[in-house]
Amino acid sequence: MPTIEAEADKPVFQPQAGKPVIRLRDVRRVYKVGVERIHALDGISLDLYENEYVAVMGASGSGKSTLMNVLGCLDRATSGYYELDGQDTTRMSDASLARIRNERIGFVFQSFELLGQFSALMNVEMPLIYSRNGWWSRRKRAKNVLEKVGLGDRIKHKPNQLSGGEKQRVAIARALICEPSIVLADEPTGNLDSKTSEDIMALFDQLHREGQTIILVTHEESVACHARRIIRMKDGRVYSDLPTAQDPTLGSFTQEAVREDQP
């Protein structure tokens, strides 16, 4: 639950501050199902700035997963313009996109996606195997990141010897190891109980304080309220893009929470 301190930490939402990490201009993604054309993304324009902490919310089918895939360069927009770190990704080859994913983007998945036969350390160093420069230092860097997420003593453990929260911490460490421009977390607490979820969200908060740009996709209000900015989607469009405090649902929710906390 957010506290007054957390509230006080939140910087005032200023879209103009810093340079944009992500620029989306009229991005569309159309799926063809038989003769039907489904507009999963229907003209989205967004600017995300450095060290932003954004939650993307929406009902299933609202296009938030598609947006996530497009932002993560796993999928290409059918039309429109997507710029990541000042680079136009719309006309990139598959290989260049793979490199972008490797160097610029860290993924955190709902179901952790750890490789069962490898230790936490090897799971974390996996992205560096495919990187251009990080190969030789991969073990050291993986150790450092694992210590950063608080798993310094679980380095040799395999995923089946870890709890759900620890698994997600390993996954976050894996997302962080390449020092990405953005961390994309797809329902990071979806498979966790509420207590562990809070721990994981606290970790995200900490990363944000350290300057990491984070994008959360979630449908849980309690998770979204950790973010500083909330983007709500419906039918492939953004219908609300406001700082958390001004958010129609969450704003009152946080205010209520704050009010409850106050005697």
């Binding site: 895939n69 999928d75 598959d94 793979a98 036969q117 495919y130 251009r132």
Partner: protein
């Protein structure tokens, strides 16, 4: 310049990583891997064993060539492939001793020749001791010179023995021991059948041979060629000849053929009723047989490798489909298509190489087994290094060929779909 160094280094990294991953996979699925590679193992084991047997046989023949001398020419009756004599009884086409009279004068390339008879197996006795099934051969002194068989004690058969049709003989040490003769047994009488012969020398035991039935179990006695007709009136005759040099060995063959056609009254146009073989011919014949055996074995091995390869492909497809999420994840964190392709391709190649390694080991065991079978003349069987290279080459090719399709399938997976895969 930097890119020039970086590219192979990147590939090496990928290679190392893929080998590491695939060994982990094979270790994680031990039973499955063993069953999958069984086809490859059997294929490689049989190809190495066949090659080992053939090279052993060849090595054997080559050592034989060395003991016989490379200029040696064999002349023996042979039924022609065509014509009325195709099914002629052997007896009707046998050599007669007089057919070779004057051969040296008519064949300038022939240095010397010697007629031999195979008298048959006799019981040989000395006082109370006797030995059964002793091979008695009648030889001319020259044939003993062609076939290098040193006399250790006493003297070899001489022209005088031949001319006077003496009842003398050379025995081998085994027979001497069996009959409990003195070590120096020169002059001792022995009975061959009902004829008394005097020992004039002891000959070295025959080296293990592929020609002329060199059986180590039986002993041999050599008597003068003409004397052998005393034991039996009608005998099969073979001739050993030696050309003057290795270069004229073909000339010598032609001259002998021409000479024998005349003395055996073969009309022009009729096929030969004998064959003249130099050692080179015999090696050629062996090589021809070896090629046929290799091809037949190669066919069988090919089928087994094909089946093994299909097994590999099958298991790789299973592996790709059960690791779809892993592939999706790897792609999401930045693995390129080539990286995924390499990983799965190398996994199948490593699987095949492991199969090849086990196969070569099994082939070595088979070879040792073959070499230890008594009386098969295979004790020189060995696996030459190139057979191992070929085996691994085949295994690797099978791995690449049959691993390509699953690897391409893995590389083409869409990361989003793959991550959603259950």
């Amino acid at each position: 310049m930097k890119a020039l160094i970086a590219a192979p280094l990147l590939f090496f990294r990928l290679f190392y990583q893929s080998v590491y991953l695939s060994l982990g996979q094979i270790w994680a699925n031990k039973t499955r891997s063993v069953l999958t590679t069984l086809g490859i193992v059997i294929g490689v084991a049989s190809v190495t064993a066949v090659i080992a047997a053939l090279s052993g046989l060849k090595a054997k023949i080559l050592t034989q060539v060395e003991t016989l001398g490379s200029n040696t020419i064999f002349v023996q009756p042979r039924r022609p492939d065509t014509g009325p004599l195709q099914h002629a009884p052997w007896w009707s086409i046998r050599f007669l001793p007089e057919q070779f009279d004057g051969m040296l004068e008519h064949c300038p390339s022939v240095k010397r020749f010697g007629r031999q008879t195979w008298v048959g197996q006799y019981t040989v006795s000395h006082r109370e001791r006797s030995m059964e099934n002793v091979m008695v051969r009648g030889i001319e002194p020259d044939s003993q010179k062609i076939e290098i068989r040193p006399v250790t004690i006493g003297r070899p058969l001489s022209v005088i023995d031949e001319m006077q049709v003496r009842q003398v003989c050379l025995i081998d040490p085994k027979l001497r021991n069996e009959l409990r003769l003195d070590r120096d047994c020169i002059g001792q009488p022995i009975l061959i059948g009902y004829h008394t012969f005097y020992i004039i020398g002891v000959i070295e035991p025959r080296p293990e041979s592929l020609f002329g039935g060199g059986n180590q179990e039986t002993s041999e006695i050599f008597i003068p060629f003409k004397t052998s007709f005393k034991l039996r009136q009608y005998l099969y005759i073979g001739v050993l000849a030696e050309s003057k040099t290795a270069e004229v060995s073909e000339d010598a063959r032609a001259e002998i053929t021409f000479f024998l056609r005349r003395t055996r009254n073969i009309k022009p146009g009729e096929p030969d009723t004998f064959e003249v073989l130099s050692l080179k011919n015999i090696l050629d014949i062996f090589n021809k047989i070896a090629t046929i055996v290799t091809m037949v074995a190669g066919g069988i091995v090919g089928i087994s490798l094909l089946v093994g390869g299909v097994g590999i492909m099958n298991i790789m497809l299973v592996s790709v489909s059960e690791r779809t999420r892993e592939i999706g994840l790897r792609k999401a964190v930045g693995a390129k298509k080539t990286a995924i392709l390499t990983q799965f391709l190398i996994e199948s190649v490593v699987l095949c190489f492991v199969g090849g390694l086990v196969g070569v080991g099994l082939g070595q065991l088979l070879t040792m087994g073959i070499a230890n079978i008594p009386k098969v003349e295979m004790d020189m069987a060995y696996i030459p290094w190139w057979a191992i290279v070929i085996s691994f080459g085949f295994a690797g090719t099978v791995g690449i060929f049959f691993g390509m399709f699953p690897a391409i399938k893995a590389a083409r997976l869409d990361p989003i779909e793959a991550l959603r895969h259950e």
